[in-house]
């Protein structure tokens, strides 16, 4: 169903009565997702420098509190309504869900937020500099990994719901009562310059594939890329104590930092910056595909645009791809 952007604002106002509303806001210097009123929320085609991942996997999340010899679990989050996740962010969330909830153990903190949040995706109209979703099989305009999907026509939105949660939310607001269920659409077929690593080469083979030190020599090792990446999901546990009460937090960490894998003995399996960059790249393009059948890079281009020295993961992936099995 096609609706105007004003109707959408009305719907967001309706949602904000019961949930914390999150959306992209122009802060003057950057665009970022944060708590916002329906009128502040941007409905144009610009992209934020960080993704929506922090509302599912916050930079800092309190897990437990130890006090007087007892441990207490953190309360369940109230749940937000998140507006404006781009298809690359939504596909990234799919990767994160696979990592955090499949296998023998599930991450309860991600799970709770995933269940509590209402996610409204918005398709892109045009690619931005550095974007490469088409090279990793992500459809710029549409993703079904959300509760409600809006395809942006510039003037208004074509609205569809993709989950029961989405259907209910739309149903409660009269102007959007009759929105239909969205289709599970296939992404456009991969293009000739698709970025994917050949399964024919072993993981160890990729270690020798290129001169990693030369290819990554200008990387400064700041780890910004993993902070702004929608799929980077590595974390550390940190304790903070005060007056005998200890809080245990789950905090973002980055494989780009030398301390990430450092053992107490001083041994570090990934000693060099090149090895750490290689880990980040192969994790996205080889290890997650091996484990979950998904590419852990959704082409959002944030790392490409954000890197202080202009490191471009596409160029390094291409170099690796040139190696024949």
């Amino acid at each position: 169903m096609a609706i105007s952007k004003d109707v959408m604002r009305g719907f967001l106002a309706h949602l904000s009565a019961g949930r914390t509303l999150i959306g992209p806001v122009d802060t003057g210097k950057v665009i970022e997702y944060r708590k916002a009123s329906p009128n502040e929320i941007l409905m144009d085609d610009r992209v934020s420098y960080k993704s929506i991942k922090e509302f599912y996997f916050p930079q800092v999340e309190r897990m437990f509190t130890f006090s007087e010899g007892e441990v207490q679990d953190h309360d369940n989050p109230a749940g937000c309504a998140i507006f404006g996740g781009k298809p690359c962010d939504l596909e990234a969330l799919r990767v994160m869900k696979a990592v955090f909830t499949t296998g023998k153990f599930a991450d309860p903190f991600f799970e709770r937020r995933f269940d509590a949040n209402l996610l409204i995706g918005v398709g892109c109209i045009a690619k931005k500099p550095g974007c490469f979703c088409d090279q990793v099989e992500v459809d710029m305009a549409f993703s079904d990994f959300c509760d409600i999907m809006l395809e942006d026509s510039g003037e208004g939105y074509n609205v569809e719901y993709l989950s029961e949660k989405g259907r209910q939310a739309l149903n409660e607001y009269p102007p959007t009562k009759d929105v239909a269920c969205g289709n599970t659409r296939k992404a456009d077929p991969p293009q000739a310059d698709a970025l994917a690593l050949s399964p024919a080469i072993t993981e160890a083979g990729f270690f020798e594939a290129i001169d990693w030190a030369k290819s990554t020599e200008t990387c400064q090792g700041c780890g910004l890329c993993s902070f702004i990446c929608p799929t980077c999901h590595c974390f550390d546990f940190r304790d903070s104590s005060e007056n005998g009460t200890v809080h245990r937090y789950k905090c973002w960490d980055s494989c780009i930092y030398p301390k990430f894998t450092l053992h107490a003995s001083g041994h570090n399996p990934r000693e060099s910056r090149a090895a750490r960059y290689r880990q980040r790249l192969l994790h996205k393009y080889r290890y997650v595909p091996d484990n979950f059948g998904l590419t852990a890079c959704t082409g959002c281009g944030r790392c490409v645009r954000g890197c202080p020295v202009g490191m471009d993961i596409r160029q390094v992936v291409k170099q690796v791809m040139e190696v024949q099995p």
């Binding site: 296998g103 023998k104 309860p108 903190f109 993981e203 270690f207 903070s240 990430f260 990934r270």
Partner: protein, 279 residues
């Protein structure tokens, strides 16, 4: 709601055993019990996450017999921030434990075979549950000869010294101890395990070797055993990594697509040879 794999349970230190007696290596074994009386049900090779709130959390392998259900033991070397603090604890102190995590040695696959354990220093700790499992009266007949070659820098660095004479008395079982340099009164072997293993009377036709110790020792012993004719698929080891979560989420312990905390820490050497050498 599913159980929270990050949530630790309170345990009490029942007993502390000082294992080593040299200035450079301070190792203690902590005997633990959950305060609510729950039993720790684990398999040889698995590990726990041991935490002191406000200090941090670290992974440690089990060091006691899995058949001993009353308590479990963890052997810890004083190395970093957390272990430093753990070593200051007294008997009766409370700590926080979650686990067990990780895989186990292929106990059934190894039935009927002869076993060779080679450990360097603290490397014996993660093998001890396996050794005790095999040497237990209920299992001893299932396995062939059990030979151990245990190395340490000095005589005071041998962990579980109280176990070794007991094990040596068991049927079809031998324990050899070695140190790097001769010391007055030392009655064991001298030198490095990769040389000494060549002098051991081993039947390679049906042998599994399990190694644990410093990486340099593992490499040297592996080379020696392969030269002597042991195929890689009959060699096992257990790895250590900085495992924060223990459940394959935090991304710190991967070697290629495998997570040491879930797919390991026990690996067959044949498997390891296929993996990138990032450990």
């Amino acid at each position: 709601m599913s159980t929270n794999p990050y949530l630790p349970k309170k345990a009490r230190i029942e007993k502390i055993i000082q294992e080593t007696f040299s200035p450079d290596l301070d190792v203690k074994t902590f005997r633990l019990k959950f305060e609510d009386g729950q039993l720790m049900d684990f398999l040889p090779g698995q590990f726990v996450e041991f935490s002191l709130p406000g200090v941090g959390e670290c992974p440690f392998g089990f060091a006691s017999s899995p058949l001993q259900k009353d308590y479990f033991e963890i052997t810890i070397k004083r190395t970093g921030k957390v272990t430093e603090r753990i070593h200051t604890l007294d008997e009766g102190a409370s700590v926080w434990i979650r686990g067990p995590f990780g895989n186990t040695f292929p106990l059934e696959k190894m039935e009927g075979a002869n076993l060779l354990f080679i450990a360097g220093g603290l490397g014996l700790a993660p093998l001890r549950p396996f050794i005790q499992y095999v040497l237990d009266d209920s299992n001893r007949t299932k396995y062939g000869n059990v030979d151990m070659l245990l190395a340490a820098r000095t005589s005071g660095d041998h962990c579980f010294a109280y176990d070794l004479p007991v094990w040596n008395e068991i049927d079809r079982t031998s324990v050899r101890q070695t140190i790097d340099r001769d010391e007055p009164g030392w009655k064991g072997l001298l030198g490095f395990p990769h040389n000494l293993v060549r002098d051991m009377p081993l039947d390679f036709s049906n042998l599994y070797a399990v190694l644990c110790g410093p990486p340099i020792m593992i490499k040297a012993v592996q080379a020696a055993l392969m030269e002597m004719g042991l195929p890689l698929n009959r060699l096992y080891t257990t790895l250590e990594m900085r495992m924060t979560c223990g459940v394959g989420k935090c991304g710190k312990c991967n070697i290629g697509h495998q997570y040491v905390c879930v797919d390991g820490p026990v690996f067959c050497m044949e498997e390891l040879a296929q993996m990138p050498g990032e450990y």
